[in-house]
Amino acid sequence: MNEIGQRVDQLLAIPPYSLPSEERQTALLALLKDELEYACSRSPVYRNYIEHWPIDMRSARTISDLPYLPIGLLKAQRPFSLVEQQEIKRILTSSSTTGQMPSRIALDSPTARRMTKGVVVIAQDYIGSSRRPYLVVDVPASTRGGPELGARGAAIQGLQPFASEATYCLELDRDGDLTLDRDKLLQFVESRGSSPVLVYGFTYILWKYLIKPLFAENISLGMPDVHILHSGGWKLLQEEAVDKRSFNDGVARVFGCSADRVIDFYGMVENVGVIYPDCSEGNKHVPAFADVLVRNPLTLEQVSEGEQGIVQVSSVLPTSFPGNLLLTEDIAQIVSYDGCRCGRRGTCFRFVGRVAKSELRGCGNIERTRQQAA
């Protein structure tokens, strides 16, 4: 296990977008195989799954041959852990729609440390490494909550290493709804607005509680040296007919910066320590310690450049849960397998959306039993 940890650390130490594809694939493939082997040694049922894979994992020649776990298997009351209960330091939970079980991700100390390091390595490639005042468009309670930490809290905390200090500019009103704390925001802008600043918020929260009201009042905060990072998806904004361009323009106008300072990143708690920010070309890139495959739903083979399919994320960071190779429920398009004009090496892709809810509603689809129906 120590040996695996050292090899992961070596990959984390490499500039994240510098390795040629083949070199990266070779290093990842060997490490992922060892991590799968380790996971099998920790969980007999996981071994049962891996041993039934149509290709023997040891003879796999590419990452795409390795056994992956559908992300839905992590949605459970009890986290699917590979470590003893006392070794679990924190449990991350995904955001989930009403009535659905969220994913629960068990983190031990080594995985938590790598998670932090992974986010830092990626983010500094986009916003630089210096610490700066950190404006969080959320309430402090998002990062509290005992042993479990939600997706919002995890994202906020992931950027904490870039913070010299943190200010939360939302509060809860009497009804428990989020609302903008204008005094706190203005105080922050007055005292730190002219220096480099980092802002983070969940995409919809940032828009609804900060950008939309200030935009309507034609307010500009005058913060040209800001980087605004946001994540969490576009579904709710699409319902309000807000597209990425109008979002970026609106955010830039309110903060008084250029639109290229607004960075959307794709990520999920299950893919711990890996985020996929948009580059200047609007593409998402894969760091040295991870991989993204896009699989054709009909064959589950990798798609060609320009094609869309189901996203599989791979990462060498986790060892506390079997999250090294996960088939997500997202759809993405491969832009190219190398050669993005932004200069970053390796696969670049664009997020397209969620896999549309199953339409298995034919005459052979029983959704409830007759007893329940009665």
């Binding site: 007999p44 049922v45 996981y46 049962n48 799954y49 039934h52 149509p54 290709i55 776990l69 559908p70 839905g72 298997l73 699917f80 739903p297 009909l298 064959t299 589950l300 083979e301 399919g309 189901i310 088939l327 429920e329 759809i331 896999v355 549309a356 809810k357 199953s358 339409e359 298995l360 509603r361 034919g362 005459c363 052979g364 689809n365 029983i366 959704e367 409830r368 039993t369 007759r370 007893q371």
Partner: protein, 418 residues
């Protein structure tokens, strides 16, 4: 676009089409023999290149044959119906007459169902308004063009109009419901409940074929007999492959009765071979990404739930065999995912079936046990008990209901002079 299939944008268009159908139907009475002649010609035309490979079309061709339909008509409407006469019933006489216009709401997962449902109403002399489910319009157009080609005189086509509109257009759904005298409604729970709630006239008769699943079972002497294994496995694969296992008659689970001293391993290998062959013959052409993720999840979930569970599957989502034991029906996955469960006694799983199960496919070497199991299944709510390999053979009663008779009026004439 075909004359029969119309893209609909307004309620007025539906009313106009219904009026046109009523006029055609009232002007000329159509004989059963004319219908059967028309169907025979259509069956021949469907064998042509453009339509022959549409899933289910070969079955539709078989269904349309006189040899298939005459016994069904005779059983449901009486022998005399075939020669256009009245049937004696004591002192009275009986004859089937059409309801008028029958509306059809087919399920979206069976390519031939718009056509198939319509044929049932047509056999009763009715005209038909058919709502073509989204995604099936192109295939249905190909199928119906063959009818137009073979029925130049318009004997049958004059009584059929197929409507293409979005299922969310409540106004159009309601207009269609108001225009009909009967309805055949097929599909999942959500679809069936929403269609059943439409404003049908108070006289309209509804035949509802809601969501069901199907299961299969083999006694020990059937699966352990090396000679018959290959044939049984081929039959199972055929039943699983049709309609991508999404039909109500698609088997979701196979119960194998254990036999002391015999391992099912050889049988499972034969089943694997049969699945491979069937997949080569009939590879899937398209798939919804959600089904792919559901299949992957079912495989992982099965193997992670219990270390004793086993599975055989392809790298792609092509097919999956989940192996284990137990008498409960696992949650159906569809998409050619068959659970194979060993049980001590077939009475256990069959005794647990309920009305959710439409068809029980059987392979039984012991005929007296088969009779016993069939009776038990019937008592538990199963409507069809058939030989493996014949799960999808569309023959009435279907879901325990006749297919032609619900859409006719049986007129009784008691002569005024004894």
């Amino acid at each position: 676009m075909s004359e029969i299939i119309r893209v609909i944008g307004s309620t007025e268009e539906i009313s106009a089409l219904a009026t046109e159908l009523r006029e055609t139907a009232s002007e000329t009475e159509i004989t059963t023999s004319a219908i059967l002649d028309g169907f025979e010609a259509w069956a021949a035309a469907l064998g042509e290149r453009e339509t022959a490979d549409i899933p289910g079309v070969q079955f539709l061709r078989m269904w349309l044959r006189r040899g298939t339909l005459e016994p069904i008509i005779a059983r449901e409407l009486g022998l005399n119906e075939l020669c256009g006469g009245w049937m004696a019933d004591g002192h009275a006489r009986l004859k089937a007459y059409p309801l008028g216009i029958v509306g059809h709401w087919p399920a979206g997962n069976i390519e031939i169902q718009p056509a198939l449902s319509m044929t049932c109403a047509l056999l009763g002399g009715n005209a038909s308004l058919v709502r073509v489910p989204s995604g099936l319009d192109e295939l249905t157009r190909l199928i119906m063009e063959k009818l137009e080609q073979s029925d130049r005189a318009g004997v049958l086509t004059g009584r059929i109009r197929m409507l293409v509109f979005d299922h969310t257009r409540k106004d159009l759904q309601e207009a269609m419901a108001r225009s009909v005298d009967g309805a055949m409604i097929w599909g999942g729970e959500e679809a069936v409940l929403s269609v059943r709630g439409l404003p049908f006239p108070h006289w309209a008769r509804l035949a509802i074929f809601g969501p069901r699943i199907s299961v299969t079972a083999m006694d020990a002497d059937s699966w352990s007999n090396s000679e018959g294994q290959e044939s049984w496995c081929r039959r199972i694969a055929r039943d699983v492959w049709q309609f991508d296992q999404q039909a109500c008659s698609s088997p979701q689970v196979l119960f194998l009765e254990k036999k002391p001293g015999h391992s099912s391993q050889e049988f499972v290998q034969a089943l694997k071979k049969a699945f491979e062959s069937e997949n080569q013959l009939h590879p899937r052409q398209t798939i919804h990404a959600a089904l792919t993720t559901v299949i992957c999840q079912a495989r992982a979930s099965w193997l992670l739930d219990n270390g004793a569970n086993r599975a055989i599957f392809t790298q792609g989502p092509d097919w999956t065999i989940l192996l284990g034991s137990g008498s409960e029906i696992p949650k159906p996955t569809q998409g050619k995912t068959l659970s194979v469960l060993e049980v001590d006694d077939l009475l256990d799983p069959i005794g647990k079936l309920d009305g959710n199960v439409q068809t029980l496919g059987l392979a039984m070497a012991d005929t007296s046990r088969e009779t016993k199991l069939a009776s038990l299944a019937a008592r538990r709510g199963v409507d069809r008990i058939v030989k493996l390999g014949r799960m999808h053979v569309f023959a009435p009663p279907w879901d325990g209901v006749d297919l032609i008779r619900p859409m006719v009026r049986m007129v009784r004439h008691v002569p005024s002079i004894d």
